[in-house]
Symmetry: C2
Subunit: 137 residues, 2 copies
C-alpha cells in the first residue's frame, strides 16, 4: 500500500509538471515572423522616437490581443524596420480588429504623420512587407 | 510513515519540476536584440537566397555556440534586413570566435560577394547596425 501511494504521488507530480510545461509553451502555436520597412520623416524623427520610447500601455495590450508579440522597431538613416512575431490564425482579421480600435487609431494619428512609405512600396502600401529568406532558431 | 513517504514524493516531484523549468528558461539571460541592414547585389540575389534557404548545419551550430538565436533575414527591393537575439555576455569576443571559425569563413566566402554595404554605412562597416527604438514583448 505504501509503495502504491508513493507511486501515485510520483505520477501526480509528473502529470502536473507536464501540464504546466504545456501551458507555458503551447506546441500548437505557429509563429509567423514579419519584417517590414518604412521611412521616418527627418523633421518628425524625434517625436516618433519619443512616442515609441514610452508607448501607451493600452497600445501594447491591444497588440497582444491581436496576437502580435516580440515586436521591435529599428532605425538607421531614415529607414524604420519592424520585426514582429504573429501567433494568431487569421492575420487579416486580427489587423482589422487592431485598426478598428479607438486607442490604436489615436496612436496612429500621432505616428502616421511621422512616416512615409519607401519609394518602392506598392500603391496603398504603408509599411512595405519584406520576404523572410533565412531563419535559424 | 505512509504520509511521510507521500509527502517526500510530492516534494521530489515539485523539485525536479522547478529544476527542469529553470533549465528551459534561465532567468538570468539578458537578450539583446540586434537589427542591421545591407544590400543584396541584384545579380547575386538568387544565389544568396538559395544559400540561405538551405544553410549549412555547421553554420547554424556555430551561430548558437556564439549565442546568436532567433536569427532571421528579410529581403525587399535590394535591401536585406537582419534580426537576431544575442544571449551572451561578450558580443565582441563571440564575434571574434565566429569570424575565426573555418566553416563560417567558408560560408562568408560565398555570401560576402552577394552583398554590398548600404550607401550610408560607416567606413569599414559591412552590415550597418540599426538602433532599436521600440520593443514590446
Amino acid at each position: 500500500m505504501r509503495k502504491i501511494l508513493f507511486f501515485w504521488a510520483i505520477i501526480l507530480g509528473a502529470y502536473s509538471c507536464i501540464q504546466s510545461h504545456k501551458s507555458e509553451s503551447p506546441t500548437n502555436v505557429k509563429v509567423v515572423r514579419k519584417g517590414a520597412v518604412i521611412m521616418a520623416k527627418p523633421e518628425k524623427l524625434a517625436l516618433y522616437k519619443k512616442l515609441h520610447a514610452h508607448p501607451w500601455e493600452s497600445v501594447i495590450t491591444k497588440l497582444k490581443e491581436c496576437n502580435i508579440h516580440n515586436y521591435s522597431i529599428f532605425y538607421r538613416n531614415g529607414y524604420l524596420f519592424s520585426y514582429m512575431e504573429y501567433t494568431g490564425t487569421n492575420w487579416k482579421q486580427d489587423m482589422q480588429k487592431l485598426a478598428a480600435d479607438s486607442t490604436i487609431q489615436a496612436w496612429w494619428k500621432l505616428t502616421d504623420p511621422c512616416q512615409e512609405p519607401v519609394s518602392f512600396a506598392k500603391d496603398g502600401e504603408w509599411w512595405a512587407d519584406m520576404e523572410e529568406i533565412f531563419h535559424s532558431d
